[in-house]
């Protein structure tokens, strides 16, 4: 507008306003975003659904950490990273806390978003809300952020709880690096939840029935958790068969298998947590003797190296989240508002 004031007044103001209007969409797409976030977060935090999930995750955290502490005390290990072992130590019959999270986080994320869009349609609130001076962008992003913040809140609370239990139970404060590593682990877990949140958001846009959307999300989750590993192995064996048994053949098949496995967000998450919480991890694939030259086996990597190791995983998780959100965005923008 400022530029046009400087121009000679040959264009009539009404015309010039129209021209500006036709080039750009008026106002910020994020008008009203925080109102949506606040409302949806309040809904999440007060919903019965959330209470159940909180109870479940508390139970898991308590159970696994107590089991891990018993294990740690009994081994009397000399470990620089005893706090991190709270997250990773499994005690039969319970799996480790990170193992549980790999299951629980997708479940929570799906529960938070499977009725985000279709719920508004079913309650017939969609047209009323969109008739307010906001764009659809704000509504969809607001719903996503509300889910992500809720997830972050719950996970942070659990993280604090585990740290507290650790200090009380082990009697030593965590070192700075342990705090840094476990905080990074928290961030990775939240991003991992972001994928499932975005996925559930896509399905809640596609399907009018929340139950269908929930089922579809869970189907995808089951597919990646259980079946993708088997499919990836079969694919790798079919595409790069080991015919003669040379080292090259074995390496090429293993590499392909690893690439295929990493399509699954679960693999990305597990590898990232392993890299962060087990500082001795140097690589996730085959380790060739040449790579071990000069390395002290079992010695932990510095934090920076571990982060470098899992950096691709982290960006992968974020990238998939963004892609899925973009898909939901496109679908939602094209949707007819009339119920």
């Amino acid at each position: 507008m400022a530029q046009q004031i400087k121009q000679p007044t040959t264009i009539q103001p009404a015309q010039s306003r129209q021209q500006v209007a036709h080039r750009t969409r008026e106002g910020s797409p994020w008008t009203g975003l925080w109102a949506v976030v606040a409302k949806d977060m309040a809904d999440h935090l007060t919903s019965a659904r959330m209470r159940i999930l909180e109870f479940l995750i508390l139970l898991t955290a308590g159970g696994t950490v107590i089991a891990a502490m018993q294990n740690i005390r009994s081994t009397v290990a000399q470990d620089r990273f005893v706090f991190l072992r709270l997250f990773t130590t499994a005690q039969e019959p319970l799996p480790a806390f990170v193992g549980f999270l790999g299951f629980l986080v997708p479940l929570i994320a799906i529960a938070l978003a499977f009725d985000a869009v279709n719920g508004e349609f079913n309650q017939r609130t969609m047209s009323r809300v969109l008739a307010q001076p906001i764009y659809r962008d704000a509504l969809l992003l607001g719903k996503f952020l509300a889910g992500l913040f809720t997830l972050a809140l719950v996970l942070t609370a659990i993280w604090l709880l585990i740290m507290g239990m650790g200090i009380l139970g082990l009697g030593v404060p965590p070192t700075g690096e342990e705090v840094a590593r476990s905080l990074l682990f928290l961030v990775v877990t939240i991003f991992y939840g972001g994928i499932w949140l975005a996925l559930a958001l896509v399905f809640s846009t596609v399907f009018r029935q929340p139950a269908t959307a929930a089922l579809a999300s869970i189907a995808v989750w089951l597919f990646f958790t259980i079946f993708w590993g088997i499919i990836a192995r079969l694919l790798a064996q079919a595409i790069r068969p080991i015919e003669v048994g040379t080292v090259q053949e074995v390496i090429s098949q293993t590499t392909l298998l690893q690439i295929l496995n990493r399509i699954s967000p679960n693999t990305l998450y597990v590898e990232a947590t392993v890299g962060l919480l087990l500082p001795a991890t140097r690589s996730f694939g085959l380790v060739l003797p040449s790579q071990l030259q000069g390395a002290i086996l079992g010695a932990p990597l510095p934090l920076g190296e571990s982060v470098a190791l899992i950096w691709p995983h982290l960006t992968g998780l974020v990238a998939v989240t963004i892609l899925l959100f973009a898909l939901a965005y496109v679908l939602f923008q094209r949707q007819e508002i009339r119920a």
Binding site: G27, T31, T125
Partner: protein, 319 residues
């Protein structure tokens, strides 16, 4: 002539091969109550959604308060209140909480919002249930809460889609009263409905929608004149020479049609006229030597106009 606040020019919306709205030219003046009538699927809701920028038109131009809803939807939606048909609220929230959300989305600050909400709930008679969950509300209460939402927005235009559908007669009557009060505040109101007698009560002008077009437009009386021939019906009962009476009445200026109600001779005479001809009819009866027993006038109902019009349309289509 007051200014136009809603204007569409050759507005068209197609869904694949189906044309929902077809070259529609709609003009609503400031401060009037405009009724969009028509059967289901005649393009009323689609038109409303395009006016609000919730659906993009396939072709044509729209101006709402001088703004283009396609490019400036925020300006339009900040000034226009919309009450959808079968309005829904968040069942798990209270009436007040639902309204606070809307106030926040409109960028109204907190103290102002509470003030407006109290006022609005008072006005629609929901103060006593302000902190009850909406899940306990009846259809009529939800509809009134919808009006409260419109009030806190303080809009210049209100658009209502089938506002009285599904309301019991008393709730509908109260609702129409609310519309009249809003009209007195010089808010322009656009409402769609197929409950004609209710529309007739509150609308200044109506537009009859058929297959995405406005086929008839004007005041109820103007429509009656065009479709039925006469806008008024003077009904009278008189004793005397039937033949002479009929002749005398038929020659009055402004009489379009004369017919008898009922089969026997004592039936009423019905005059379709272009204006209220009661005094003239009374004099004509007396001068023709008849004894006037009853005399009344009624405006024709929209129901009749509607039925008559679509009968003609169907008849035309059949040929």
């Amino acid at each position: 002539m007051s200014e136009l606040v809603i204007e569409t020019h050759q507005l068209t919306k197609r869904y694949g091969n189906f044309t929902a709205v077809d070259s529609l030219n709609l003009a609503v003046r400031k401060g009037e109550v405009y009724g969009m009538l028509g059967p289901n699927g005649s393009g009323k809701t689609t038109t409303i959604l395009m006016l609000l920028g919730l659906t993009e038109p396939t072709a044509g131009r729209i101006r709402v308060l001088g703004f283009d809803p396609v490019r400036q939807p925020l300006s339009v939606k900040a000034r226009v209140g919309y009450l959808p048909d079968a309005v829904g609220f968040y069942d798990n929230l209270t009436a007040t909480e639902n309204l606070i959300y809307i106030a926040k989305l409109n960028g109204i600050n907190r103290t102002e919002a509470y003030h407006r909400i109290d006022e609005a709930l008072e006005r629609v008679g929901l103060s006593h249930v302000a902190n009850h969950k909406v899940s306990t509300f009846s259809r009529g209460m939800r509809q009134r809460l919808g009006v409260a939402e419109l009030l806190i927005k303080q809009p210049e235009i209100i658009i209502m889609d089938e506002p009285t559908l599904g309301l019991d007669p008393e709730a509908a009557r109260q609702f129409l009263q609310m519309i009249r009060e809003l009209k007195e505040e010089h808010i322009t109101i656009l409402l769609s409905s197929h409950l004609l007698h209710q529309v007739q009560e509150v609308c200044d002008r109506v537009g009859l929608f058929h297959k995405g077009r406005i086929v008839l437009e004007g005041t109820v009386n103007e429509l009656a004149q065009r479709v039925l021939g006469g806008a008024y019906r003077v009904k009278l009962q008189a004793e005397g020479d039937k033949q002479k009476l009929a002749e005398a009445l038929q020659t009055l200026p402004g009489v379009v049609n004369l017919h008898y109600n009922g089969t026997n001779g004592s039936g009423e005479i019905i005059l379709e006229t272009t204006q209220d001809l009661r005094p003239e009819a009374a004099r004509a009866v007396v001068e023709a030597g008849g004894r006037l027993q009853t005399l009344s006038v009624e405006n024709p109902s929209l129901d009749e106009i509607y039925a008559q019009y679509f009968e003609e349309v169907d008849h035309g289509a059949a040929n």
